[in-house]
C-alpha cells in the first residue's frame, strides 16, 4: 500500500523556522531528515502504484534518488529497461534524461514505439581538452541519444572506483500533467572506457 500521509506529516513538522532555515542542532537536523526520508519512501510506493495502474504494467517501478551523482543501479545493470517521465507541470515539456550506464551503444524508442537513432560519444586520445568536431545543433526532439563519460568529480563523489563509466543522454518529452514511456535497449558492450583525464596538477 502507498501512503502520502507520512510525507505530509514530515513536511508539516519541518515548517518549524529552525527546520526551514537549518538553525538547529545536528541531531535535530538529522531527525528532520529521517522523518522526510521515511515519508518519501511510502509516498513513492503510492506514485508507483498509480503509474503502474495507468501504465498497465506489473513490473516493479524504481525511483533513482541519486541521479544527481549519476547513481542508478537499474540503468547501470540492465540491458533493457523502461524510462517513465512524469510531468507535474501544466504545460508539455521536452526534458533531458541522463542515466548512468555501462554499455557504449543503446537504442531508445519513444512512446509511439518509433526508434530514436543512437550515437556514442567517447574520449578521443587527443590533448587534455578532448573536444568532438562541433555537431550541428539539432531540434530538441530529433537529437539521437548519446553516451558520454561521467565527470571525474562525479566519480569521486561516488567513492571513485565503482559506478558506471558513462551516461546515456536522450531528449524525452511528456504532456501536461501526464507521463510518457521510453524503451531503452543496450546494443553492444563496446570497448572498455578510458576515464577522462584532468590536466596534471
Amino acid at each position: 500500500p502507498g501512503d502520502s500521509s507520512a510525507l505530509r506529516e514530515a513536511v508539516a513538522v519541518a515548517q518549524h523556522h529552525d527546520a526551514v532555515s537549518g538553525t538547529e542542532r545536528q541531531h535535530v537536523a538529522d531527525d528532520y531528515a529521517r522523518q522526510l526520508a521515511k515519508g518519501w519512501d511510502s509516498c513513492q510506493v503510492l506514485v508507483a502504484n498509480a503509474l503502474s495502474l495507468l501504465g498497465g504494467t506489473k513490473e516493479p517501478l524504481v525511483f533513482c534518488n541519486a541521479l544527481n551523482i549519476s547513481v542508478c543501479p537499474l540503468s547501470e545493470t540492465s540491458a533493457q529497461f523502461t524510462v517513465i517521465l512524469y510531468n507535474p507541470l501544466a504545460w508539455g515539456v521536452a526534458w533531458p534524461v541522463r542515466l548512468p550506464v555501462r554499455g557504449t551503444s543503446y537504442a531508445v524508442t519513444d512512446p509511439q514505439g518509433r526508434p530514436v537513432a543512437s550515437q556514442v560519444s567517447r574520449d578521443s586520445p587527443k590533448p587534455p581538452v578532448p573536444t568532438e568536431p562541433p555537431c550541428p545543433p539539432c531540434e530538441p526532439l530529433t537529437c539521437p541519444p548519446q553516451v558520454v563519460p561521467v565527470s571525474g568529480v562525479t566519480r569521486w563523489l561516488r567513492g571513485g572506483a565503482g559506478g558506471a563509466p558513462g551516461e546515456l543522454l536522450f531528449q524525452a518529452w511528456a504532456p501536461p500533467l501526464g507521463f510518457s514511456t521510453f524503451g531503452v535497449k543496450q546494443l553492444s558492450l563496446g570497448a572498455p572506457w578510458d576515464p577522462p583525464r584532468w590536466p596534471s596538477g
Binding site: A14, Q15, S21, G22, R25, Q26, L36, A48, L51, L54, G55, G56, E59, L61, F63, L67, C72, L74, S75, Q80, F81, T82, V83, I84, L85, Y86, V93, W95, P96, L99, P111, Q112, G113, S121, V129, P130, T131, E132, P134, C135, P136, P137, C138, P140, P144, Q146, G152, V153, L169, Q171, A172, A174, P175, P176, L177, G178, S180, F182, G183, W198
Partner: protein
Amino acid sequence: DPEPQIQNEHLRVLFDPITGHLREIQNLAKGFSLPVFQSFYWYNASTGDALCPQASGAYIFRPNASTPIPVAKRVATRLLKTALVQELHQNFSAWCSQVLRLRPGQPYLELEWTVGPIPVSDGLGKEVISRFETPLRTAGRFYTDSNGRQVLERRRDYRPTWNLNQSEPVAGNYYPVNTRIFIRDQKVQLTVLTDRSQGGSSILDGSLELMVSWGQRGGTPREGTPVTSPCPLQVHRRLLNDDNRGVAEPLDEPGDDGQGLVVRGRHLVLLDTAATAADQHRPQAQEMVTSPYVVLAPGPGPHLRQVSREGLGGHLRQVSREGSPGS
C-alpha cells in the same frame, strides 16, 4: 582552444582561454551580448571582534571582511561537445568544481556546482559564494523573490520602512532567495534561478552573488526579511564557533565520512531584455520547483506508452468504477 565556447540556438557562451572562467554570454535570438565573469569565493567567518563580539554561526552570518577570497584565479577545464549537450567542466580546487551546460532548445545556461568538503584545517570558518560580475549600471538595486512569488526590489544599505544605520556592509545587504535573483539596467536583465533557498545580494554594482547552500525547498521560507541578524537560510558554510543564539554548537556537519558535507546544486542563468525577461523566468522557475522526474522499470515496458491529463482522469474514473476501492 583559443576561443573556448559552447552554443545552442538561443545562446553562445564564451570562456577566457587563459583562466578558464565564464567571460561573456550572447543572446543570439535577440542579437545582444553581456560580459559576465563568474567565479567562487569564500567569506572568512568572523569569530567576534573589537567592534562587536558577535561571531558567525548557525543563526548569524557575519563575515570578518567585506572582500571575499577567490577559490581559484585559474581554472582547469574540459570541453565536451555532442549533438545533445555542450558542456564545459571547470575544476576550481579539490573541493569546488562546476559544469556549465547548454542543450538544444534550452533558453538558459545551466551551472551545476559541487562544493565541499570545505577545508577548515586552517582554523577559518568559510562561507562560500558564487558571484556574477557584469558592467550593468544597477545603482545599488537588485531583485529577489519573496517565497517564490512576489519579487521585491532591494536597495543596497537601505530599508524602505526605516532609516537604516548600516553596520554590516555585506551581511546587512543579504536577502533570502527562494527561487530567483536578478539585476538589470534599462534594457538588459541577468536572472539566476536557484534550485533551493539561498542567501543572495548585490554588494557591487553590476554584480550578484549567491551563498551556495543546501537544503530542501519544502516548507515556507521566511518573508523577505534581511538576513543581518536573523539566520542566513541554510547556507553551505562551515563554521568553527557557536554564535550564542541558542544552538550552542558550531555549524560543522560532519557528513557520512566525517570529512564534511559535499553539496551539489544548480543555477540557471537567463540573459534577456528587461522588458521580456519575466516571460522566461516565471515558467522556468516553476519547472525548477516542480520538476518532471523519471521512474524506471526493468524490461521492455508497458503497452500504454503515453497518457495526458485527460487520459489520466479517464483512467482514474475507469479504475474506481471497476470496483477498486480507490476513493
